[in-house]
């Protein structure tokens, strides 16, 4: 199965504007309502990867979790220009705990 998927970046405008030059689609959002709607819409619209800044992801943890079990799209957290909140790292650790039973790393 080969499909072409688009790439989306979701976050506050200042952080993600640079991505636009690379030809990936950027969606600037500011509050949780907007973020939730945007993520749900783009998830349905043939996007394979959604990069989302941790600041925004922090507002909509339920929405992010919903896509954890799907193969497509992959929702990946990235730090924003205000620095990282370490949510991405803690998600990795959570995965380890879930699989192994305790954090072994």
């Amino acid at each position: 199965m080969i499909y072409m998927f688009k790439i989306a970046v979701v976050g506050d405008k200042d952080s993600i504007l640079a991505f636009k030059a690379l030809g990936v689609d950027v969606f600037s959002v500011y509050d949780s309502e907007e973020a939730r709607k945007t993520v749900d819409t783009i998830a349905r619209n043939n996007y394979g990867i959604i990069f989302i800044t941790e600041q925004i992801a922090n507002l909509i943890p339920d929405t992010i979790e919903r896509y954890d079990k799907e193969i497509i799209p992959a929702v990946i957290l990235i730090p924003s220009n205000q620095g990282t909140l370490n949510i991405g790292m803690s998600r990795i650790n959570k995965n380890v705990e879930k699989a192994v039973g305790s954090n072994i790393l």
Partner: protein
Amino acid sequence: MAKLNVNPTRMEMSNLKKRLVTAKRGHKLLKDKQDELMRRFIELIKKNKSLRMEVERELQESFKDFLIASAVMSPEMLEEAVAYPKESITVDIKKKNIMSVHVPVMNFIRKFDGDEGSIYPYGFAQTSSELDDAISKLYGIMPKLLELAEVEKACQLMANEIEKTRRRVNALEYRTIPDLEETIRYIRMKLDESERSTITRLMKVKDMISKEA
């Protein structure tokens, strides 16, 4: 362990024995699956962790450059510069099967492959060199970012699958198999007991008949 609620008959026992054999084989298979998944998972998660650290650090550097660029240039100019990208990146996703977990394999495709200038969608006259730096750095991170996406997604899916498999293994190991074994033992005892009682009764009857004669 509670025994199952069944009639202590020979037929029931042979059914249970069949079920026990199946349960044991299933347990062994699932255990093997869990072990192999775990091995792969640990390999992947280590890679995931180091990749994420690398990507986060590099992204932050690129953001720093971009921040400087946006300080040097007016916001309108900046937005105008990146408003119409020439380059377009799409991703081609295939599915790979690791121990019955479907994980994505991502390949990213640039529209203007091999054309290094294509990542700057603006003229050089009105933009600062900081913007060039930020964008070229960001472009350099892109392959790693995609690899991160692939690995992290795979880890997520595998973690879910491992959890599910572990539950099944434990249910079989600590519930189903002991229950079946105990029930089989119970039925065998019951059958033996009734056999013994039949024999004693027969002996008693025979005794009574021979005394009467």
